[in-house]
Amino acid sequence: MARKHNDQEAVRRYLLRQLSDAEQQAFELRLLNDDELSEELEIVEDELIDEYLTEELSQTERANFEKDFLASPERKRKLASGQALRRYFFKSTPERLPKPGIFDRLLKWTRQSFLSSPIAVAVALLIVAGLGFAVWRGVFYQSDVDKGLIALNQAYSQERPIEARISNLDYAPFVTRRGGDPGAVNTLERDRAERILLDAVRDRPGVASYHALGKFYLTKKDFDKAISQFEEALKENRSNAQVHSDLGAALLEKARTERGSNDSGESFKELAKSLEHLNKALELDSSLLEALFDRALVHEQMALPEQAEEDWKKYLERDFNSQWTNEARRHLTTLQENDHKITQDKKDNFQNFLKSYRANDQEAAWEILRRTRDGSAVGTLIRDQLLDAYLEGASAGDTRQAEDKFDALMFVGKLELERTGDVYTSKLARFYSLASPGQREILTKARELMKEGRRCYAGARPLDAIVAFDKAKGMFAGLDNHWETQYADLWLGYCYMNASDTERGLKILEPLVSSFQQQNFKWLFMRALYLLSGAEYDLSLYSKAIGHNHRALALAEEMGDAIGIFNALHVLVEQYRYIGNFEQSLDCIRRSLPLIESGVLNQDQIAQYYGTVAALLDSSGLYSAAADYQKESIKRALTTGQVQTISRAYANLGSIYGKMGDYNRALESARIAYDTARSHSDESIKKTMMAYSSRQIGDLYRQSGDINQAIKSYDECIELNKSLDNYYGLYEAHKNRLSCYKVLGNDSVVKEELETTLALVEKYRTRILEEDNRRHFFDTEQSVYDLAIDFAYSRMKSAEKAFDYAEASRSRSLLDLMNSNAHVANYESRPDIVFGPLSHPLKLSDIQKRMPAQAQIVQYSVLDEKLLIWFITKTGFSTVESDVRQEELNHRVHDYLQSISSTANASNPEVNDDAKRLFEILIKPIEPFLDHAKPVYVIPDKILNYLPFGTLISPDSNKFLVQEYLTVVSPSSSLFIISSELARKKEGKKFERLLSVGNPNFDRSEFPALAQLPSAASEAEGVAGYYESKCVLTGDVATKPRVEKEMQRSDVIHLAVHTVFDQRTPLRSKLVLAKAATTSSDERSNGVLEASEVYKMKLPTTKVVVLSACQSGIEQYYGGEGMISLGRPFLAAGVPLIVVSFWPVDSDSTVALMRSFHQHRKRDNLPTAEALRRAQLDMLSSSDERLRQPYCWAAFTAVGGWTSF
């Protein structure tokens, strides 16, 4: 009965769920047949339970044990039996026997006193038991959860581990420590708490035990586990205020820990979630002091000092004399002192600068200068204040003052020149030094006009501001003061933008940008870029706007200009949010939030910023936190009297309340926004704000079900936006009015509205130039196209129109790429594709005209409630509707893929049933149209992009689709035509040159998780044997420069290599090659070929690319654009046909498939797609059962157009 140690280890890993999928499958198959292994399994189960109880498991094992092992009730029973065993041994060990308790003594006493009377004994016993139980229950009894929490309290009685308050935990001081010092903790009590609470969760899972264990993890700063336990508790009871409060505390502490590290804004999101839970806790129980305390901390962390102050004050009103109050008081005092300091600093900036100047303290002077360059406020620029004081002194004959201020101005110019290379102030100072008294008089007047202009701007009177700036500009120009003339011009451009004449603003700003750059007026250059970005954004030129803003940000960072950095980041938050790139938006918040408390900003800037943050939180579904920011925005805006900011803030607050389902408050806020907007003196701003709030009102009516009122508001919004030429406003209003019309069921109106909306979408497409932004935008707007397809087909009864909509909705960026209307640009060191003129998809008639006679197209549109299948040949067009819902199709395909994409379930006959059912849904309806002799070009949609069609089984013939038809995938019908035409141009070359790459000797230190692929080397060598001319690169020689060079002159490229995906930036996904033996830092030697680099290539001779790697055809799916994969850039580079994989492939079976494929291609002279099919059929008829599984033979597909080669 000798059993292998290996088995024990394997069983242990199996039970702790540490085996890979393949290992697990193999293990289970063995388990079903092997009696010894089966017994071993039970032994190891028992051993694991014992080790768990005696705390002998490692941390990871323990975590797996609790998460997976204990999931089944049966195992829990076994655990209980293990505990019983431990109790047994515990009790039977004499020295560990507990001392006699009160019950023992009472029983002894009763036995002695009443032994003579059995009835008396019984009665006495009953009384004693009853009394005892009551006393025990009322006074001494503690549940496990209570015991655990008492131990936890004792563990942290000297010092609490986190600043946030945890519900029902006693006060202990919080000490901030550096490094990993855990502080004063009683580890014995802490471990006891852990044991008891883990047992409690196991034995009595429920709100109390989950909550208590969550508290334990929170004290241990194991925030993820704490959050997970609190969430479990909330699943049981969503109305438990204390759990919400502690979850808020956990999220707060997690965010604090992550902050500062490069968390891409995730910590801010956690703070917002924390606020959501704390608000909920207080909504459920307004007297919950812990929640109030923690909310004050969160408000502090989120740079909402006024709300934090309010919370601390409320806290101190409710908690008079506990030890927590001292901390609350300290926080309040610090906040108030900071506030006072900021106000004082602002007042003293000028005086402090003069002091530093006089002391020649350049560092201190520069620090003040770089923090105070607020280009929009009146009288804050040190340069302006010095010039004014100089002119005042000179005109009053106070030479001393004049000289003093002039010297200080020169000092500013010198500092700017030295620190940033900016020559503006020094040149301006030289001009003033040469000005005559008469000129100085004019300059004084012109500068007064500039101040007047800024005041008008601040008072939201841009038209008046324009008059003032224009006059000032004329006066400066009259004196040949080129510097201030241009500065006045910058203001004019800005004011035109604000007066809703953005085009005119843009015309002024564009030449200024290059002029400032050429003259080395760095600060003005940065400001102009920032303002230009605003104008472009208003004109919906998002990519340009974002690009210019990033340049402004980079310049501001280079100059250390705090306000410039803030401005750029603030606007980027909004711009990224607008195009749906929330991740970037959050990251900009993370970077800008600390500046709010730095005291460099004015109230209007802060009010607007809070509004922007609120909008992002609103878009992210964090409504409660969004409302907090929006209220703060309103509070600050009201102190400035900025009508525009106030109106927008109320409109947004209305929208947030609407999403929270509070329509009364929502409509009230939106109406205040509308009325405030109407009071604006400037007609254009008034209209903009009215349009904005009328759309919000429309949305609120629509959401509350009052469709007619909603339409009225949208009507008004559309009219206003038309007069303003605001495309996006128009698009949103039309899109939402379209939803209203659909509800009312008026087809003719829906049709008209649909066409208008789609025209606006297309207009929009031309304005989003970067692929990343396009993908995000159209991913969210795909529903508009789906609505159009459905409406055209179902209501307009026009299958052709519906098809054209379907074609217009997919893979448009790839179409642009293939038409060479794009290039790769580096964007803050992140590559992105920038598009040029828009390509238009082909209409059905064009597709039929240009498609090869030998081909047939099957195109799918997966809609919410139905599936449409189009069948197209050169002479025919048919449509079939199936009533399968998108959700059902998703489930079916998902389950089917799970089954076939590993070897595990292949022997299950039910997998075949699924393949047949999918055949019935996807193929059977169009089967009568299909011609066996012609290849079928499948254009999938949504989930169908993941489906290997060849594996579907015909229920009639019981054969796989691949046995009956040749299928090739194409991203869209238009792309199929383009690829087919490209293929035709590459026909005719008899001898083909092959580049075959396999198992490059990649950099192990950079990719430690990747294994060597010796079979890939033999694959590369093996396939090369079929070609007349070849270049085989394996091991060290398969370097990037070599591969790139060979690619340019190869007809067929076969790459048997590893792939590494970059989820965040697909352009960074890569094929892993050998690192060139060079010490240079040349990036060409880095040993990876990124997708972005392939997009830059043109492969004029390449006919076929085979990516014999894992998931080379599947990476990320986007609504609208379709599948993004490592194969895509090769299509864009002009390769008409690629062979790519659906899932992580098995290396050995891939070798067999690829050899057979190239053999059929070259020896039998078959076209590529047919050769791949034959190779798959060879595997299907193999004697090796494993190779007959779809996992092995169906992993690869051909993608592209019709080819004769």
């Binding site: 009965m1 000798a2 059993r3 199996y14 039970l15 769920r17 499958q25 289970e28 198959l29 388990l31 079903l32 047949n33 009696d35 089966s38 017994e39 399994l41 039970e42 032994i43 028992d46 014992d50 005696t54 002998e56 997976d68 092992f69 999931a71 089944s72 009730p73 049966e74 195992r75 076994k78 209980a80 039996s81 019983a84 065993l85 109790r87 047994y88 041994f89 009790k91 060990t93 229950r137 009894y141 549940s143 034995d203 009595r204 899972p205 429920g206 699943k235 489930h891 998902h894 389950d895 799970q898 089954s899 595990a904 379930n905 292949a906 022997s907 299950n908 006959p909 039910e910 997998v911």
Partner: protein
């Protein structure tokens, strides 16, 4: 998960015949496969492992007419294949379960009941250990009563005393423990049935 219908007696007979021509042997095989499928589902973290194992057995039985003529190879592989599919469906059901409709959990016993249960367990364990032979009882105590390092040393010396390999001792102890667990189940069932009568 869509539940399979129960197999007809004919289908069930065919299934047994497929497993082995000897009906007794087939019955044993059936039970073994079922039991091991339960272990597999338990390890995969399924709450209703027995139900899932039965579902697999039913699915295979219901399809037996189609399977027998076409299926080549070891039948247990086929059961495993079905188990994979049933597991996927189970996972999907779990994902789809709305938050407010989590699977019914046994309600926690009140404090008194819990104490009572523990006492019953302890009583049963004492009784069952009492039913072991003296040598078995001694082996059992010595095998299980220590922890960590002391446990390893105690087991080594015990194995040496009994002239057993460490693994043989391990298996012996496990079998005793299994015997004890079964005894406890019977004993606890007795408590339960008493209680039912009382209720």
């Amino acid at each position: 998960m869509k539940r399979e219908r129960d197999p007809t007696p004919q289908e069930f007979d065919k299934l047994l015949a497929w497993l082995s021509p000897d009906r007794d042997e087939a019955g044993r095989k059936y039970e073994t496969i079922r039991y091991r499928l339960i272990r597999i589902f338990v390890t995969r973290g399924c709450v209703e492992a027995e139900r899932l194992a039965d579902e697999v057995m039913n699915r295979v039985a219901v399809r037996i007419d189609k399977l027998v003529p076409t299926y080549e190879g070891d039948p247990t592989k086929c059961f495993h294949g079905f188990a994979g599919k049933v597991h996927l469906e189970y996972l999907r059901d779990q994902r789809e379960l709305p938050l407010n409709e989590s699977p019914p959990q046994p309600s926690p016993p009140d404090d008194e009941r819990e104490r009572e249960e523990l006492e019953q367990e302890d009583e049963c364990l004492t009784q069952c250990i009492g039913e072991l032979s003296a040598s078995e009882s001694k082996l059992f105590r010595r095998y299980f009563q220590d922890e960590k390092r002391a446990k390893i040393n105690a087991r080594k010396s015990l194995a040496a005393e009994l002239r057993l390999t460490a693994n043989a001792l391990r298996i012996k102890a496990f079998r005793l423990r299994r015997q004890l667990r079964r005894c406890m189940e019977v004993c606890l069932d007795g408590f339960l049935s008493d209680e039912t009568i009382r209720g």
